[in-house]
């Protein structure tokens, strides 16, 4: 069952057009990766879905309902949550307060403070500390935990591995796998192609604001992806 789909989605930042006619879909329970180089439009795409960038109403459908142009708070209420690029934790709030903010506009459900602490024990140790005083990996865990607190139907993660050591990246994806296996629908934007293909069932590749390749991870070859990624 299709949870989210976009039809010919085009988006602009002022005079600058960032996305050109994106056709995309993700089914409930699926994990889809969005790949591409810097500036390909991946983050813009997630921001559109999250409600930060306006688009025409019919170009975006969530759960069958046209939602293009809806504001961020409306998308959260519908069950769409974004873990933004660069984490963007609230610097004057503690870890626990950050997690509580995650639940602000979301729904009641499986994910509670205790469940998130169970998933990321390191966060529990640091619950009363200012969130931005932790290491990069811990901050990323907090950002994911914050996203989960909204009990979303669709969780989007933008560049989880940015600035993190490989061993931490692996740890985070391992933990995220348990979330995935619980049936949560995920869209992940990743520059680390290998990691993304291992984790997701399907992948899209963006190039200069357009979809250059898409298919099941198991069927796409490295050469295909490299060509679509760089556009050579």
């Amino acid at each position: 069952m299709t949870l989210l789909e976009t039809n010919g989605l085009s988006a602009c930042y002022g005079d600058f057009q960032a996305l050109f006619g994106i056709d995309f879909e993700v089914d409930e329970g699926e994990t889809v990766a969005v790949l591409g180089a810097n500036g390909a439009g991946k983050s813009t795409f997630l921001n559109v879905i999250a409600g930060n960038v306006p688009v025409a109403k019919e170009q975006l459908q969530f759960d069958g309902v046209p939602m293009g142009g809806a504001r961020a708070c409306e998308m959260v209420a519908r069950g769409v949550t974004l873990v933004p690029e660069g984490r963007r934790l609230f610097s004057s709030l503690t870890v626990e307060e950050n997690l509580m903010m995650g639940a602000y506009g979301g729904a009641k459900g499986y994910w509670t403070l205790d469940k998130v602490y169970a998933l990321f024990p390191k966060l529990k140790e640091r619950r009363k500390q200012p969130a931005t005083q932790m290491s990069g990996g811990e901050q990323q865990m907090a950002a994911i935990g914050r996203g989960l607190m909204a009990n979303p139907r669709l969780l989007m993660c933008d560049e989880l591995s940015l600035g993190l050591a490989p061993i931490i990246i692996a740890e985070i994806y391992e933990t995220l796998a348990t979330v995935r296996d619980r049936g949560l629908t995920l869209i992940i934007v990743e520059q680390n192609v290998q990691q993304a293909m291992k984790f997701a069932q399907r992948a899209y590749c963006f190039l200069e604001g357009r979809v250059s390749l898409h298919g099941a991870s198991s069927e796409l070859t490295r050469e295909q992806v490299a060509k679509a990624y760089f556009g050579v």
């Binding site: 999250a50 409600g51 930060n52 504001r71 961020a72 708070c73 959260v76 209420a77 949550t81 974004l82 933004p84 963007r88 934790l89 609230f90 610097s91 004057s92 709030l93 307060e97 509580m100 903010m101 995650g102 602000y104 506009g105 979301g106 914050r146 909204a150």
Partner: protein, 291 residues
């Protein structure tokens, strides 16, 4: 001589709470939405005139009782103003918010002049205005200024409690840190900003009663209130309500000491202290973080 100085300092501390309250409102709105409301002082005067009007039309004896009506009224006023007018100018542009709120200041002052004439006004605080007690050393402390300090401290304390112990308060602080990320949490910023301005108007209403009882005021008195609020914020530093309170006290103490020299030096001393802090430590004396 020492007695005069001590007396001046004590009067300054008693008044500083009020300036701190003026400044807290200005500072809260700036923190959450990076908006400085030039009409802030004029709204304090507006609220004081509402008190006068309601005291008259509802035959209420005490201005404090009139607050029961004026506080909710000012909350609604703040909410509506933010929702329908000021939300349109929140953003990166420097010019629009200043010029729009400046226009609102002109409208408010002249609206009050039109409705209430240019006569001086004063609220009647009753018996507490004239009661006082004497400290050892011969320094006289009025009951009213003491109550004023207490009320202002309590209000700032309540604001602080709200910011750290309520869901709404955490949302205010989160929005103040990162508005975009707050939206991603499901915060409806249009509504939140309006609630914030509503809350600030409640502090304005409380401040107005004390302002009106303390001294005579005119429709044009709002400009002075704004300047004191602003100077207190700069002296105290951004980011912390208690820092702003201290800024208010330092300002009031400077004014109090200045007044002992001559009436003209009362205001001038405050301005000079402000300029010195601006020159030497522009981030303020007790900043919590850089904005």
């Amino acid at each position: 001589m020492l007695n005069t100085i001590l007396d001046a300092v004590i009067q300054g501390i008693l008044l500083g709470g009020l300036y701190g309250l003026y400044a807290a409102g200005l500072s809260l709105v700036f923190g959450i939405m990076r908006l400085v409301n030039i009409a802030h002082g004029d709204f304090i005067v507006l609220a004081a005139f509402f008190v006068i009007a309601f005291q008259k039309f509802l035959s209420i004896g005490s201005p404090f009782t009139a607050l029961l009506v004026v506080v909710p009224l000012m909350f609604i006023f703040g909410y509506v103003l933010q929702r329908f007018v000021l939300n349109q100018v929140v953003g990166d542009d420097i010019l629009r918010p200043v010029l729009v709120t400046f226009g609102l200041s002109v409208i408010t002052q002249n609206g009050l002049l039109q409705a209430f004439s240019a006569d001086s006004r004063k609220l009647n605080g009753g018996i507490i205005e004239v009661s006082s007690f004497t400290l050892p050393g011969g320094i006289i402390v009025g009951v009213f200024p003491l109550i004023m300090l207490g009320a202002c401290l309590a209000t700032i304390g309540a604001l602080q409690w709200m910011l750290f112990h309520t869901r709404m308060g955490v949302a205010f602080r989160a929005t103040s840190d990162d508005t975009m990320a707050a939206g991603l949490m499901g915060v409806n910023t249009r509504h939140l900003f309006s609630i914030a301005t509503g809350v600030v108007m409640v502090t304005v209403a409380i401040a107005s009663v004390f302002t009106g009882i303390r001294a005579t005021f005119y429709p044009t008195s709002g400009s002075d209130c704004l300047l004191f609020a602003f100077e207190a914020v700069i002296i105290g530093g951004l980011g912390s309500l208690w820092g702003t309170l201290l800024g208010g006290m330092i300002l009031a103490i400077s004014q109090s000491l200045g007044s002992r020299i001559s009436p003209a030096w009362q205001l001038q001393a405050g301005h000079l202290v402000f300029l010195i802090v601006l020159l030497m430590r522009p981030q303020g004396l007790f900043p919590r973080r850089l904005d």
